[in-house]
C-alpha cells in the first residue's frame, strides 16, 4: 500500500496528465453517491450525539447558550470530518473497490497494461485526487448540516437561537476550520489508497470481489480512526489557544 501511495503521488505530479476527464467523472460520481447519505447521517449525528446529550447536560446548569461553543469542539473539530470519512469510505470507497475489483477479475487491468496504458496513472491517480478534493469539500457540507442538527436540538429544548450563534462564533477559530478541512482531505487520501489497492489486488472470482470490498472498508475505517487520533492529539497539543473557552 505504501508503494502504491508513492507511485500514485509520483505519477500524479509527473507529466503527461491524461487523467483530466476521468478525474471529473469520478468527482461527479462520488458527489452523486454521497450527498444524500451524508445529509441524513450528519443531521442525525449532530442532533443525537452532541446535540441532545450536551443540551441535556447544559440545561441542568441553565446554560443552554453554551451549546454553540460546544458545537465548535464537537462538530468542527471531531464529528464533521469523522462522519464524512465514514460515509465516504462506506459509500464511495466500497463503490471504487467493487469497480476496480470487477475490472481486475475480468482481466481488464491486465489488458490495459498490455496496451501500454498505466493503470496507476489512468485509474488510481484520478480517483485519489477526486476523493481527496471531494472529501475536503464535503467536510464543509457535513459541518453545516451537523450544526443544523445542533440548531434542531436547541429548538427542541425551546431556547432561542441567538445565544447559540453568539457562543458559536466567539469560540470558532480559523485554526479549527483549516484543521478540520486538512484532516478530512487526508482521510480522503487514506480511503482512496486503501480502496484502490484492495480493488486492484482482488482475486478469486465473485467471492473475491466481495471479500475485497469487505477488507477495504475495514482497513479504511481503522486507518482513518488511527490517523484521526494522532492528528487531533497533535493539533490540540500544538495549538493550545483553540482549546480556550471564550
Amino acid at each position: 500500500m505504501m508503494i502504491l501511495t508513492g507511485k500514485t503521488i509520483v505519477s500524479a505530479a509527473r507529466p503527461p496528465y491524461p487523467y483530466g476527464g476521468e478525474f471529473v467523472s469520478q468527482f461527479m460520481f462520488v458527489l452523486r453517491l454521497v450527498w444524500f447519505p451524508l445529509i441524513v447521517s450528519t443531521v442525525a449525528f449532530g442532533y443525537g450525539a452532541p446535540g441532545l446529550q450536551a443540551a441535556n447536560f447544559l440545561v441542568l446548569f441553565g446554560a443552554l447558550d453554551r451549546l454553540g461553543g460546544f458545537f465548535v469542539l464537537a462538530s468542527i473539530r471531531e464529528f464533521a470530518p469523522f462522519v464524512t470519512a465514514i460515509v465516504v469510505a462506506g459509500v464511495a470507497g466500497t463503490a471504487i473497490t467493487a469497480d476496480l475489483g470487477a475490472r481486475k477479475i475480468r482481466e481488464e487491468l491486465d489488458a490495459l497494461q498490455v496496451l501500454g496504458v498505466d493503470p496507476v496513472k489512468n485509474l488510481v491517480v484520478p480517483r485519489f485526487l477526486a476523493l481527496m478534493l471531494v472529501t475536503g469539500l464535503f467536510d464543509i457540507y457535513a459541518l453545516l448540516f451537523g450544526i443544523f442538527g445542533g440548531i434542531l436540538a436547541t429548538l427542541v429544548n425551546g431556547a432561542p437561537l441567538g445565544p447559540f450563534w453568539a457562543t458559536f462564533f466567539t469560540n470558532a477559530s480559523t485554526t479549527d476550520l483549516w484543521g478540520s478541512v486538512l484532516k478530512c482531505t487526508m482521510f480522503g487520501a487514506i480511503i482512496a489508497i486503501v480502496c484502490c489497492y484492495k480493488g486492484m489486488t482482488a482475486s478469486g472470482g465473485a467471492e473475491g470481489v466481495g471479500r475485497a470490498v469487505n477488507q477495504a472498508v475495514v482497513i479504511a475505517l481503522l486507518g482513518v480512526f488511527a490517523f484521526n487520533y494522532v492528528f487531533t492529539q497533535t493539533l490540540l497539543a500544538t495549538h493550545p489557544e483553540i482549546t480556550v473557552i471564550r
Binding site: A44, Q53, I86, G90, A206, G210, V218, L221, F225
Partner: protein
C-alpha cells in the same frame, strides 16, 4: 416530474422488499423452524467471535482514546480537569461506542455476509440447496441472525470495556491531569446499570438491522461477480444511514427527556 417521483418510488419499493424479506427471516425464527439447524447457528456464532470480535473491540478502543483526549482538553479549558470522567462516561457509553460498534459491524459483518451469501447466490448454490429440500432462508439467513443475537451482546459489552479502558489510558496516563481515583469517582458517578442496558439495546438494534440488511442484499444479489461487489457496496450505504438514524432515535428515546445525571433535581 416523473423523474423526480421515480427515485423515491424506487426507494419505497426496495424498502417494501426488505421488509418482506425480514418478516420471512423472523417468521422462521419465531416458528422455531430455525431450531432444526442449531448446530449451524453455533458454528456461525463461532465464526463471528473468531473473525469479528477483535476488530470491533479495536475500533472502539481507538474511539475511546479519542473521547478521552477531547474530554481532557475540553474540561481543562473550563478549568475543571477533574471532571474529565463525565465527558468520557457519556461520550463512550451513550454515543460513540454504539456508533463505532455499528460502523464496524456494518463494515466487517454486514459486507462479509453480502459477499458470502451473494457469491452463493450467483454460483446457484442457494438454488441447489432448495432443490435438495433444505429451506435456504432458515438455513442461511435465520441461523446467522440467531448467531448474531447469541454472540453480539457479549461482544458489545467487551467493546464497552475496551472503550472505557482506552479513555482511562488517554485521560489518566497520557494527559495525566487527573489521578486514577479522581477519574473513577466522577466516571462511575455519571453512569448506572440502566445506562448500560440502554446502550446495549441501542447496539443490538443496530446489529439486528445490519445483519438483516446484509442478508437481504446477499440473498438477492444478481449479475455475476460485479453484482456481488455492487450489492456489497449498496448494503454499506443503507447500513450507514440506518446506523445513524437508530443512534439518533435511541438517544432521543432513552436520554431525550431525562438526562439521568446526578446533578440538581
Amino acid at each position: 416530474m416523473r423523474g423526480a417521483i421515480a427515485a423515491p418510488r424506487g426507494w419505497l419499493e426496495s424498502a417494501g422488499d426488505v421488509a418482506i424479506f425480514c418478516a420471512r427471516v423472523l417468521s422462521q425464527i419465531a416458528s422455531g423452524r430455525v431450531l432444526r439447524f442449531t448446530g449451524e447457528s453455533l458454528r456461525q456464532a463461532g465464526i463471528l467471535i473468531l473473525s469479528s470480535a477483535l476488530v470491533i473491540c479495536g475500533l472502539v478502543f481507538i474511539i475511546g482514546l479519542q473521547c478521552g483526549i477531547e474530554g481532557a482538553y475540553f474540561t481543562r479549558a473550563q478549568g475543571t480537569p477533574a471532571y474529565a470522567g463525565v465527558f468520557s462516561a457519556w461520550c463512550d457509553l451513550r454515543e460513540l461506542v454504539p456508533y463505532a460498534f455499528g460502523y464496524m459491524m456494518a463494515a466487517k459483518v454486514g459486507t462479509g455476509l453480502v459477499a458470502e451469501i451473494g457469491s452463493m447466490r450467483i454460483t446457484d448454490e442457494i438454488d441447489a440447496m432448495e432443490v435438495m429440500g433444505i429451506p435456504s432462508i432458515a438455513f442461511l439467513c435465520a441461523t446467522r441472525l440467531v448467531a448474531a443475537w447469541i454472540v453480539l451482546p457479549f461482544v458489545y459489552i467487551a467493546a464497552v470495556g475496551a472503550g472505557f479502558f482506552a479513555s482511562y489510558l488517554a485521560v489518566v496516563v497520557q494527559i495525566g491531569e487527573v489521578s486514577s481515583g479522581g477519574f473513577f469517582l466522577i466516571f462511575w458517578m455519571f453512569q448506572n446499570p440502566p445506562d448500560l442496558l440502554f446502550s446495549v439495546i441501542k447496539g443490538m438494534a443496530m446489529a439486528t438491522t445490519i445483519v438483516l440488511i446484509g442478508l437481504y442484499y446477499g440473498y438477492h444479489a444478481s449479475g455475476g461477480p460485479v453484482g456481488v461487489g455492487t450489492a456489497t457496496a449498496k448494503s454499506m450505504v443503507v447500513n450507514i444511514v440506518l446506523v445513524h438514524l437508530i443512534g439518533m432515535l435511541g438517544t432521543q428515546v432513552f436520554w431525550g427527556a431525562n438526562p439521568r445525571a446526578p446533578i440538581g433535581g
